[in-house]
């Protein structure tokens, strides 16, 4: 059973454009939704996270939009840069401290 579904699998965006990655979840008991950025050969690094009592969180060029009723959340990267090219994972934590990861989105920002 896939607890967190992520799309698209890959994304190509022009420099300066907006990158949008979507995730959907099943378990209404999830209480924390982070996004991670991973470069090849490195561990995932926390980018931004949101709790379900908030509909949007913005940190610099990165925004999470959260729709509790639809059980969906998305990552928006504004003014995308070639340095943003990486794989992005959404995740969700249950109340037993287990984290479920999405399948990942490979982002390529063209200069």
């Amino acid at each position: 059973q896939q607890q967190v579904k992520q799309s698209p699998q890959s994304l190509i965006v022009q420099k300066g454009g907006i990158s949008i990655i979507n995730c959907a979840y099943e378990n209404t008991a999830f209480d924390y939704f982070p996004w991670y950025q991973q470069f090849p050969g490195k561990g995932p690094a926390l980018l931004i996270a949101i709790r379900p009592d908030v509909s949007e969180k913005k940190e610099g060029r990165f925004t999470i939009s959260f729709n509790k009723s639809a059980k969906q959340f998305s990552l928006h990267i504004m003014d995308s840069q070639p340095g943003d090219s990486a794989t992005y994972f959404c995740a969700a934590k249950n109340n037993f401290n287990k984290f479920y990861f999405g399948s990942g989105t490979k982002l390529n920002v063209k200069p």
Binding site: K42, F99, F101
Partner: protein, 113 residues
Amino acid sequence: EPEVTQTPSHQVTQMGQEVILRCVPISNHLYFYWYRQILGQKVEFLVSFYNNEISEKSEIFDDQFSVERPDGSNFTLKIRSTKLEDSAMYFCASREVLPYEQYFGPGTRLTVT
């Protein structure tokens, strides 16, 4: 800035051998995790550890796997009898009780031949 460290960075072992992967979490963190990532695939939760015991484990974490915090700083993952399909990157992560932010180590690439 404090960081999670892992050793070794790459471990090659023969099928059936035991391996121990080591992690040093961030010093004031209380939750510890092991994850696995097969090449090009998603990050998979293996186990979480809190207060010197396993708090949650996945179906992947069978009797071949064990975790230990042998002293105040190290956190280890042992695979008793490695299989070819255990070849993957293994990441350790740690966090405080609150907030929930996990910090990942750089990973150990395990290759089973």
